[in-house]
């Protein structure tokens, strides 16, 4: 892909993000931060590529550390979001 195509994807995604995030209800802003935190760990893709390739040992070890750090975030971020969202209920108890 050439740079302009990638840039187009990026710019369009910024607009999508803008509209989608505005539609998030303020009551869910904390779960929003937790879940965006988890998904920004998609950086693990880069870490996996670094960890997978032999050749430069330092790069591989750095990659493995990055894989571990991103994994903390992926599992932690989704789990804590799940835990918070499970608490949001409509009135289930009689006053």
């Amino acid at each position: 892909m050439d740079f302009i195509s990638i840039l187009s994807i990026f710019v369009l995604a910024c607009f999508v993000g803008y509209y989608v995030v505005w539609s998030v209800t303020p009551a869910l802003h904390t779960p929003l931060m937790a879940v965006t935190n988890a998904i920004s760990s998609v950086i693990i893709v880069g870490a996996l590529i670094a960890a997978a390739t032999a050749g430069v040992p330092q790069a591989k070890w750095i990659g493995l550390v990055a894989v571990a750090l991103a994994s903390v975030n992926i599992f932690g971020g989704f789990a804590v979001t799940e835990r918070m969202l499970a608490m949001y209920k409509k009135k289930e108890r009689k006053g």
Binding site: P26, A52, G63, Y88
Partner: protein, 470 residues
């Protein structure tokens, strides 16, 4: 030799699907009903991205990778299960720091082994455009890391929430930023290791310098700003890898943090520039006008409060960070249940900057099983105070201060506040008369005729009220 030139067509498609899943994950948060489905979409997207990467690369070290994922995953999972909901802001800050560090490490790995990332030009050097992307990615990642570490230490109480103001800090910060950008530019002409590592080191330093002058009251803005940075770091790495999942995610996360920062700034009537240039809101109160605290005020007891609320038709509860610190949310819900049994209408009013991150109060109330349709935002409930018998303010100071509307000399002048003083009676739960809120201003409300101060630990006071109601 690498796959970038000859990837099968399904690979970019899979990454695109992962990106779409992430969009759906955020989209789901538009209402509590669809939010859990949204979170599942996020997990599916992440699984697709990871599996696609693993199956399309020659994995020489699959076992090590699986061990790294297992160790990291187990740590993350255990932390997520154990963390107290009141500690959510510092947890999010800590998680941001990890994304930042991961971005730095990925950038470093790409620099050390560019061939693996498919960014080598025909001349055996890293492509110019990739050098800029890597430089920016590493810089943003490093700023996110050190900034988040400071935010974590401040939120967790390991470091004072007081702003640390260095002389000439704007000159130092702008100068350092200029040097970083200059070096990234120079990196395109000279691919030396020293340039790369200097950019990294200076970026760690600037992240630290940018956050130390910011005071506790501005932490919600800082946390969402760092959220934004972690997104841009991921996007920059996505450019390097030409990976659509990373670019879409980075843009989503980047916009998300930017929008939340904007909402927080608007809720405090402060400009983003004045927040990031720092200094507002330490934990030490600036003494109010001399003798102000000698003014008469009324003290009430738990019994008085119970009596007043029992007689009321409508009570609006205003929770703030003080409630979170005292962990009073469960007792509060119990109190509300008892009032509802007496036929009282109970509503909750939440100011957008209550707590230490956007929406933090909502989570704490949800934890105590408060139904979310009893919880209202400032603009939806402000007109209701005039029709209410009691406003029950618990640990919320600055966001209820009427002088924000009238006193031009007040540091919080112009900030939208909850109109609690319009209720017939204001019950104000506070530990003691000493000590002002985070903004360091005394609350005019304490001395109003219709205000009754309930001086005690928030949780203890609410429990006493519950006893009196029973």
């Amino acid at each position: 030799m690498h796959e970038v030139a000859d990837v099968p067509v399904w690979v970019p498609l899979a990454y695109l699907i992962a990106g779409v899943c992430f969009i759906l994950a955020l989209r789901g948060l538009s209402s509590p009903e669809s939010s859990r489905r949204g979170n599942r979409f996020g997990m599916i997207g992440m699984a697709i991205a990871v599996v696609t990467t693993l199956v399309t690369h020659e994995i020489g070290s699959l076992v090590e990778i699986l061990i790294a994922i297992a160790i990291g995953g187990a740590i993350g999972f255990i932390i997520a299960r154990r963390i107290a909901m009141t500690a959510m802001p510092q947890l999010v800050a800590a998680f941001h720091s990890l994304v930042g560090m991961a971005a730095v490490l990925v950038g470093a790995a790409a620099f050390l082994n560019p061939d693996a990332f498919g960014i080598l030009g025909p001349d055996g050097e890293i492509l110019d455009v990739s050098r800029v992307e890597m430089g920016l990615g590493v810089a943003i990642g490093a700023i996110t890391f050190s900034g988040s570490v400071i935010a974590f230490l401040k939120l967790n109480g390991n470091m004072s929430g007081k702003p640390i103001i260095l002389p000439l800090r704007h000159v130092i910060n702008l100068g350092t930023l200029a040097v970083i950008l200059g070096l990234i530019g120079y990196f395109t002409t000279d691919q030396s290791a020293w340039v790369f590592w200097t950019v990294t080191a200076l970026s760690f330093l600037i992240g630290f310098l940018l956050i130390i002058p910011i005071g506790g009251a501005d932490m919600p803005v800082v946390v969402s700003m760092l959220n934004s940075y972690s997104g841009w770091a991921a996007a920059a790495m996505g450019f390097t890898l030409q990976n659509t999942a990373m670019i879409i995610t980075g843009a989503l996360v980047g916009s998300s943090g930017a929008i939340l920062s904007y909402i927080m700034c608007r809720a405090m009537n402060r400009s983003f520039i004045s927040v990031i240039s720092g200094g507002f809101g330490g934990e030490t109160a600036i003494a109010g006008p001399a003798g102000a605290s000698d003014r008469p005020w009324k003290r009430g007891s738990a019994e008085d409060a119970a009596f007043l609320m029992k007689q009321a038709e409508q009570v609006i509860i205003v929770p703030g960070y003080g409630m979170a610190v005292a962990q009073a949310q469960h007792a509060l819900r119990e109190m509300a249940d008892m009032l509802k049994e007496e036929g009282v209408t109970v509503k909750y009013a939440i100011h957008p900057v209550a707590g230490r991150m956007p929406g933090h109060m909502n989570v704490l109330l949800a934890e105590a099983s408060v139904p979310y349709d009893e919880v209202f935002e400032l603009e939806d409930i402000n007109s209701e105070f005039a029709r209410s018998d009691v406003a029950f303010v618990i640990g919320a100071n600055d966001v209820t201060n009427p002088s924000a509307k009238t006193d031009k000399s007040s540091p919080i002048y112009g900030m939208p506040v909850l109109d609690v003083e319009k209720a017939k009676t204001v019950l104000f739960v506070k530990r003691s008369m000493g000590g002002a809120g985070y903004a360091g201003v005394e609350n005019e409300l304490f001395f109003r005729d219709n205000t009754m101060m309930l001086l005690a630990d928030a949780k203890k006071m609410v429990e006493d009220i519950v006893k009196s109601l029973g």
